[in-house]
């Protein structure tokens, strides 16, 4: 073969291979007659992968489980997972494909905030129930969205829990709070949120720092925080960033407690640190991270292992997907023999006090469409290498307005 053609063929093969690999192990659609098709829009190959891929696997696990047990009222549920590569235009295009071409009965995902917000009018027009994105934008709650069924406590709820719980823990009359936020849209929103609600929560806002997602050292950030002299820090960062922040705090001998959003809730935040330093960082979540021993957690891990998702089941995002999947399956079952978007929607609204076996507080959608409107903090136990819950769910209801 001519060298040029051989070279070109190799490149074509490489690109093809790259394309196939990039798709990962996403399920391929099987267009059988007696099936229910369900869509997920999430990042399968871009920077959001560490959080969004486990979320997808969580849903997949539930669907595989119900299919193995005979399906939903005898019908197999088919998952169509579209890759938005963490880009809004691709996410919207994916949504449109699922809603129109594939005519799915419901959708999950739409986690990327830009995509979520842009999709809201389309969702309302198509009347497609969207269950449990792995993140809740303000726009999904206010004004009221008929078809958005949220699971992850919104940032305002997390802020209320963090500010309230830390105020009580610090014990001062008006403790000073600073924020560290990842330098993306949600982080900017978080910074604004803390600065605006600190007063109402009985705390004093003394400033905030933004941290680049690709920063390899938090020294500059921590030094700036040191100058602000806060009593505690309300943070919204990734697990990797949390790790860097803790390392820098150790370097400079800073002993300021941090309570963060769920985004930093991964074991890697605590890696390579002493228990004393690790104890400084807690994160809140509306679900129970996998390593906290619960009956639901054990079952979930067993299910995940069965379908080859054991690695992903170590992530809290997997839990969100798993719970979302459970609710979807239940609502579709409740919707009867031939579910339509309409009957499925009604079934979702009717879900009340669904027990997730310890994986979350009981879930009710109802009028508010907010399935889990609560969060509680978790810490990391170095001895057992597992997360531990700090108190019961109910202890934190008082902070949520």
């Amino acid at each position: 073969m001519k060298p040029e053609i051989l070279g070109a063929a190799k490149i074509a093969g490489a690109l093809l291979g790259a394309g196939i690999l990039a798709m990962g192990t996403a399920l391929q659609p099987a267009f059988a007659q007696d099936t229910i098709t369900y869509g997920v829009v999430s990042d399968q190959s871009g920077p959001g992968v560490p959080n969004q891929l486990p979320y997808l696997r969580g849903i997949q696990t539930q669907f595989n489980k119900v299919n193995d047990a005979g399906g939903i009222n005898g019908r197999k549920i088919v998952l169509l997972a579209e890759d938005d590569k963490f880009q809004v235009p691709l996410g919207i295009a994916a949504y449109k494909k699922l809603a129109s071409n594939d005519d799915v009965i419901g959708i999950s995902g739409l986690t990327l905030s830009g995509t979520q917000v842009a999709a809201l009018p389309l969702v309302a027009k198509d009347k497609i129930p969207v269950v449990g994105p792995d993140g809740t934008t303000d726009a999904s709650l206010e004004p009221f969205q008929e078809y958005m069924f949220m699971l992850v406590p919104s940032y305002p709820v997390q802020a209320q829990v963090i500010l309230g719980a830390m105020k009580d823990r610090v014990g001062k009359d008006k403790p000073k709070v600073a924020d560290i936020s990842v330098n993306v849209e949600s982080g900017l929103g978080w910074q604004k949120l803390i600065s605006e609600t600190a007063e109402a929560a009985g705390t004093e806002y003394v400033g905030g720092v933004l941290m680049d997602a690709t920063a390899t050292s938090a020294d500059a950030i921590v030094l700036k925080i040191q100058q602000m002299e806060p009593d505690f820090i309300a943070a919204h960062t990734t697990g990797g960033q949390a790790n860097l922040i803790l390392k820098s705090m150790e370097k400079f001998g800073l002993n300021i407690p941090v309570m963060a959003t769920y985004a930093s809730g991964t074991p890697s935040a605590y890696a390579g640190l002493s228990p004393e330093i690790g104890a400084q960082w807690q994160f809140v979540h509306g679900i129970t991270p996998p390593s906290v021993p619960t009956d639901g957690g054990k079952q979930m891990l067993a299910d995940a292992e069965k379908y080859g998702f054991g690695k992903d089941a170590a992530s809290s995002d997997f839990v969100v997907g798993y719970v979302a999947g459970q609710l979807v399956v239940q609502a579709l079952t409740d919707a009867g023999e031939n579910p339509t978007r309409e009957t499925y929607h009604q079934a979702l609204v009717a879900l009340k006090d669904v027990d997730t076996n310890g994986l979350s507080p009981s879930v009710s959608f109802g009028e508010s469409r907010m399935g889990i409107n609560l969060a509680r903090p978790y810490g990391y136990d170095y001895a057992t290498q597992a997360f531990t819950a700090v108190g019961e769910w109910d202890a934190y209801r008082q902070y949520v307005k």
């Binding site: 690999l21 190959s45 680049d212 920063a215 390899t216 390392k247 370097k251 890696a271």
Partner: protein, 290 residues
């Protein structure tokens, strides 16, 4: 003042990592004319290899580093044989596209093999805190800086004083004349790719120790490119200096401005250097290729 010095030191440590990756890139480019867009991904591969050595094979840290470096060297040689040798003589764009494809394949493969979660080294290099006056340094930072100095010096000596180094310099400058003199360019290219991959892997080991091992390491590795451009595309010491500069600029701008501004400052600096001195700080005004 302490604030500035503290940031400077952090910047140098991080910059050493960029410098190492950039060094490998320049090396490959000088010897083989290949613009390796997958260099940042090779950094991620190094970090994951180290993880495997530590977590799967349970090697002690020192042994794990050696194993990772050896594996990276072999990988580099294989890449040359399998991907770049067949593409020799092809136009630049073709080869660039091949490196981009390689980059995508590596990223995809890492996610498939290791999952998308952040991982961390179960045992790390020493990271105790060292105080020098009012400055606080992590032992890890010092080790990284020290290692980079050693690596750069070792490579400089290699190039200047060994026969293979001489052959590489000759091949890089004039491949035809080198062939006439009995130099096996294929062997030279293989060595270049091996060394280039090894330096990237070392960067990955250090970066994985500084923070966590995740697919985003590939993106951090991309910061090696501004380092290369600033330092001069064909200058090995330049690439290291470029890396240090980028690291310091990053830290200083994160300290004095905001996280958002850091990228702007870094790339504005890059642009400024290019406008004033297109060949980079230490590059040659024009690269002669016969």
């Amino acid at each position: 003042m302490i604030f500035f010095l503290q940031l400077l030191v952090s910047g140098l440590a991080v910059g050493s990592v960029y410098g190492l990756v950039a060094l490998g890139f320049v090396l490959i480019f000088k010897a083989t004319d290949v613009f390796n867009f997958a260099q940042g991904d090779l950094l991620a591969v190094g970090a994951y290899l180290m993880f495997v050595a530590l977590a799967v094979f349970n090697l002690p840290v020192a042994l794990a580093i050696i194993a990772t470096v050896v594996a990276a060297g072999i990988l580099g040689a294989m890449l040359q044989r399998v991907v770049f040798k067949p593409l020799q003589g092809q136009p630049l764009l073709t080869v660039v596209m091949a490196t981009i494809a390689l980059s995508l394949i590596i990223q995809g493969a890492l996610v498939i093999i290791f999952g998308s979660q952040d991982l961390s080294f179960p045992r790390t290099l020493p990271s105790s805190i060292v105080a020098i006056g009012a400055l606080r340094l992590s032992m890890l930072d010092l080790i990284i800086m020290g290692c980079s100095v050693v690596c750069v010096s070792a490579f400089a000596l290699f190039f200047r004083y060994t026969s293979l180094g001489l052959q590489m310099r000759a091949t890089a400058e004039h491949p035809e004349a080198a062939a006439l003199s009995g130099i096996n360019s294929d062997r030279v290219f293989t060595v270049a790719f091996s060394i280039g991959t090894v330096t990237a892997a070392l960067g990955g080991i250090f970066l994985g120790s500084l923070q966590v091992v995740s697919p985003t390491l590939s993106q951090i590795g991309l910061l090696a490119f501004p380092a290369v451009v600033v330092g001069g595309l064909t200058s090995i010491p330049g690439s290291v200096i470029g890396g240090l500069l980028i690291g310091v600029l990053q830290q200083l701008s994160a300290g004095y401005f905001d996280g958002a501004v850091a990228s702007v400052v870094v790339y504005s600096g890059l642009l400024l250097v290019l406008l004033l001195r297109p060949q980079g700080l230490l590059g040659r005004p024009s690269v002669q290729r016969h």
